[in-house]
């Protein structure tokens, strides 16, 4: 029986000729990732077991990004714990605040994630690297600890859902609209325990940043991973960013999928996920009432990349956000921040009435840098709109693309350019 792309990568890392869905395997890891929330728990686990060394100091990435620059004393203690561990173990890829970024934007940019890799990260959005043709999945802190100690992790081989992508987006429709559309279609557990494999001749019309956004939100459909085929665009991205050797895997022609969907990008419209689940989607023309908002957030591991900032700035150029509105823009890495300054995007955001922060996950999970008060409504380019995710339990989050977010900031209500 043929294997899916994910299964082939897993088989190769388990030293097996082939694997089938449901099989339990132990796979070698190319990278183990943790942040300032999850790593301290993993480090404590290692201490408890008296495991005082890591399997490979070059294959661990520690990225304090959630509550940095340190938001309070307890967060500072967590970051200190990660910093001391990184120093003690001589971890090559520890990123201090001045060189950091949101982990899932930073690691591909630094060339640490390449096609064919098996990567685990103690952060649910670790699935992002599927955009590069890698198997990557989120785990908890104990799995991270075991991964750091042994360089291995156990997996149950997933079955897959195939998404055949055709056509091309209309203007201002992006990868975020596609993934929200898919989650709306299959539900927040529609891909539970399974892979989401994206294929088809429409893939070539998706930018790398679109692919990162799409793979990033595979977890919001419950998926174990989301994965894209490796094409010329992927290879040029890998060559530009990484010195590491990559390996191209592709699904067998007779691979078996649980379900198959075909989506024509040209039929998609700007899509918004209403509170309090990412599956509560409506296209912009289905929103009949004016939903007044208080805050707009543009950033995160989902939509804080340069394409995202460019499209938002294009819409905000020469305009001003509605009086009383708060617009918070967070470039996802220091490199993206610098590019945004050089291209004049930061000037555009500030002149439009926004504020631009250093990279942090802060507002996405209600940590800091944009927490919502009771009853407030926010349009956000982030990935979750659960109850209380960004602040008070009565606040509301509407997930959308950077284009919808920028237009909504100007109008004061949920809006998309051209509608």
């Amino acid at each position: 029986m043929g294997m899916t792309m994910t299964q082939k990568i897993l088989a190769s890392h388990a030293g097996l000729e082939s694997v089938t869905a449901g099989q339990l395997i132990e796979a070698d890891l190319d990278l183990v990732l943790g942040n300032d929330i999850t790593s301290p728990v993993a480090i404590k686990e290692m201490d408890k077991m008296k495991l005082d060394s890591v399997f490979d100091k070059d294959k661990i990435a520690l990225v304090p990004d959630h509550f940095v620059p340190n938001k309070d004393i307890k967060s500072a203690e967590h970051c200190k714990c990660v910093r001391e561990f990184a120093l003690k173990n001589n971890i090559t890829n520890y990123f201090e605040v001045g060189e950091m970024g949101i982990e899932h934007a930073l690691l591909p940019e630094k060339g640490l994630t390449v096609a064919g890799d098996v990567i685990i990260g103690a952060d649910s959005h670790t699935c992002t690297y599927g955009a590069l043709g890698a198997f990557s999945t989120g785990v908890g802190s104990t799995d991270m600890a075991a991964g750091m100690a042994t360089g291995k992790a156990w997996f149950k081989v997933p079955s897959a859902i195939k998404f055949n992508i055709t056509g091309k987006f209309n203007e201002y429709v992006t990868g975020k609209d596609l993934i929200l559309h898919i989650i709306g279609m299959i539900g927040v557990d529609g891909a539970l325990y399974r892979s989401m494999e994206f294929v088809g001749d429409g893939i070539k019309n998706l930018s790398m940043d679109d692919r990162f956004t799409i793979a990033n939100m595979a977890i919001e459909a419950g998926a174990k991973n989301g994965i894209f085929p490796v094409d010329d665009l992927t290879i040029s991205y890998l060559k530009e960013h990484s010195k590491r050797e990559y390996k191209v895997f592709s699904a067998d022609p007779d691979a078996v999928y649980d379900e198959e969907y075909t989506i024509d990008l040209g039929t998609l419209k700007p899509t918004v996920a209403f509170p309090h689940l990412p599956e509560n989607t409506k296209t912009i023309d289905e929103i009949k009432e004016k939903i007044m908002i208080d805050q707009v957030v543009i950033g995160s591991c989902t939509n804080g990349r340069i394409d995202d900032l460019r499209i938002a700035a294009k819409l905000l150029k020469g305009r001003h956000i509605k009086k009383g509105m708060r617009l918070i823009v967070l470039p996802a890495t220091q490199e993206i921040y610098l590019t945004a300054i050089e291209e004049g995007l930061v000037r555009t955001f500030i002149e439009a009435g926004g504020v631009v922060s250093t990279p942090t996950c802060g507002p996405c999970l209600g940590g800091y840098m944009g927490v919502l008060a009771a009853g407030e409504k926010c349009v956000s380019t982030t990935n979750r709109n659960f109850v209380g995710r960004m602040g008070d339990v009565t606040s509301e989050i509407y997930l959308a693309s950077p284009a919808v977010a920028a237009e909504s900031a100007v109008k004061g209500y949920i809006a998309a350019p051209g509608y």
Partner: protein, 161 residues
């Protein structure tokens, strides 16, 4: 291994943000996390839960963030088991890895009501609703996962190997 307690019943898609809100993730102390467990979905939970009590929910329990703080908080509250129709996959792994017993059983998850007295026999996978007299057969863990659980979590398992 057996568990017995009063049921706290929830619906679909209970996410890890409501199990332990991120505003408390500046701590990783189980006791401190336990004082905020389920706060954003049921603010009375912490005041009412007793050692041995059981959480029952329907689909996709533990979805969202990978924070291990979620099963840690539940375990530190004294909860003896979580029963659900389905679990989100990271929560499932994390629970096994830290030794919080969980059980997938759609029939039990649908039938059991809030406040029922329930007992669980982990060896046979039998879930009994003492209040209604109904019995259900839960999904036993594959042998590999049982080994991890019997070793009292993943770290012991790899250390012993």
């Amino acid at each position: 291994m057996q568990a017995k307690g009063k049921v706290f019943k929830y619906g679909d898609n209970v996410d890890t943000d409501v199990i332990i809100p991120a505003r408390y993730l500046n701590s990783s102390d189980p006791k401190e996390l336990a004082t905020h467990c389920m706060e954003d979905i049921d603010k009375d939970f912490v005041g009412k839960v007793h050692e041995g009590d059981i959480i029952v929910a329907t689909k996709n329990f533990g979805c969202g963030s990978s924070r291990e703080h979620a099963p840690i908080a539940i375990k530190a509250c004294g909860v003896s088991c979580v029963i659900a129709e389905t679990f989100a996959r990271i929560f499932f792994r994390n629970s096994i890895n830290i030794g919080l017993p969980i059980m997938e059983c759609p029939e039990a998850a649908k039938a059991i009501s809030n406040g029922d007295e329930v007992s669980i026999d982990f060896d046979s996978g039998t879930i009994t609703d003492i209040t209604t007299g109904q019995a259900f057969k839960g999904q036993p863990f594959p042998e590999f996962m049982q080994k991890i659980i019997n070793a009292d979590g993943l770290m012991n398992y790899i250390k012993n190997k």
